[in-house]
């Protein structure tokens, strides 16, 4: 087992958002403030790790034909748990993430990792994979929400950087989400092109 390699894959070479292009909806929708980004990122990491472990444990029991439905039920169970926990202990974050917490069920990252990794590997690598891919997702969310919060409302994690009058409100609206993510993926492709050219 190779934790370093899995971590590098999750964060850079196989980053779930920037390279695999999975989980777009939540990435675009909730990255308006840093606290939202961190809350969503950590929730997805927790659910991804738990579902990876569980599916890896059950990989020899689940019949081939109904595997997708079984995965969705496992994932939905964990999502409901996280949803209730957030409502109980972090009601502010639960309020601002709204419908996107239950929608983690249909977040393609989790189903994709269940299908392509957890169902073929032992429990420990599956857990590490969940954590690494979750971290990659969280990092992208935090970077994106930092950019959008700074430009869109002139603050960082709630602390004011410049007066709100000078902020481009557009960046906090849906437009800003599309533009920021487009620019980030372009940056990623530019880095990959550079790396290929260097060799």
């Amino acid at each position: 087992m190779n934790i370093g390699k899995q971590l590098k894959e999750g964060l850079i070479t196989q980053n779930p958002v920037l390279v695999q292009l999975l989980g777009m909806c939540s990435t675009l929708a909730i990255t308006t403030t840093i606290s939202n980004g961190i809350g969503m990122g950590l929730s997805v990491t927790a659910i991804l790790t738990l579902s990876n472990v569980f599916i890896s444990l059950l990989r020899k029991i689940i019949p081939e034909q109904i595997r997708i439905a079984s995965y969705i039920v496992v994932i939905a169970g964990f999502v409901t748990m996280v949803d209730l926990l957030l409502q109980a202990y972090q009601p502010d974050i639960a309020e601002s993430l709204g419908v996107f917490i239950p929608l983690i069920v249909v977040n393609c990252i989790i189903l994709a990792r269940a299908e392509s990794f957890a169902s073929k590997n032992k429990v420990l690598p599956a857990a590490v994979d969940g954590i690494c891919q979750g971290l990659g997702y969280t990092v992208v969310l935090v970077v994106m929400s930092a950019i959008r919060e700074l430009l869109g409302s002139g603050s960082l994690a709630g602390a004011r950087v410049f007066p709100a009058d000078y902020a481009a409100t557009m960046m906090a609206l849906p437009v800003g989400g599309f533009l920021t993510l487009g620019a980030l993926i372009a940056l990623m492709q530019w880095i990959q092109n550079k790396a290929k050219g260097g060799k």
Binding site: T80, V99, V106, N107, L173, P174, G177, G182, Q189
Partner: protein
């Protein structure tokens, strides 16, 4: 039941709160299936169909769960209903309208993981819509999806011949385009019919 409320819901779902460009629901198929016009249209109609049916079916399921005091099982129950529904629609189309089935191909099963479908059902519950309002919201939400994906596909077909910077080729330029479309749809915000 007032026609005006229904019209308000429809207008909101199609233009003001467009599912893709304002609420960010259903981005995956929006990006994945919009390279060609005819597949985009097929996907759009399949989504209208499934969203309408899912809204209708999940309404009694929600009432049942609430009366049993199992409200916290909503997410699990709804996703199971949607998965089963998509499976049945697939089998039905295969038997009775094979041409449509062929045309939709791989996109039908993909609708299960389209967040617009689960999203519309959850929003119906959140907004306390009654049965008719739920179905109208589902169908018009799908129509908003169709509108956005058709517009986007026609832009992308032309984008094929453009020459953006190398790093922006493919996905990034498509996202920027979608961003500009979202900017246009911002013009609809505040649109209201004075009754």
């Amino acid at each position: 039941m007032e026609w005006t409320t229904l019209f308000d819901i429809a207008l909101g779902a199609i233009l003001v709160n467009n599912f893709i460009l304002v609420q960010f629901l259903g981005i995956c198929p929006f990006m994945g299936v919009s390279k060609k016009m005819d597949t985009a249209v097929g996907m759009g109609f399949a989504v209208i169909f499934v969203m309408g049916l899912a809204s209708a079916l999940c309404y009694p399921v929600n009432l049942l769960l609430d009366s049993l005091g199992l409200g916290y099982m909503k997410t699990v129950a709804f996703i199971l209903v949607i998965a089963a529904l998509v499976q049945f629609v697939e089998m039905f189309l295969k038997k009775s309208i094979p041409t449509l089935y062929e045309a939709l191909g791989v996109y039908l099963p993909l609708i299960t993981t389209n967040c617009a479908v689960l999203g519309v059902v959850l929003l119906n519950v959140q907004e306390n819509y009654n049965f008719i309002e739920s179905v109208v919201y589902g169908i018009t939400g799908g129509a908003g999806f169709l509108l956005a994906i058709v517009l986007f596909a026609s832009i992308r077909e032309r984008l094929e011949f453009s020459d953006p910077p190398k790093a922006f080729r493919g996905f990034p330029i498509a996202l920027i385009t979608a961003g500009l479309m979202a900017l246009c749809f911002m013009g609809f915000s505040g649109l209201q019919i004075p009754w």
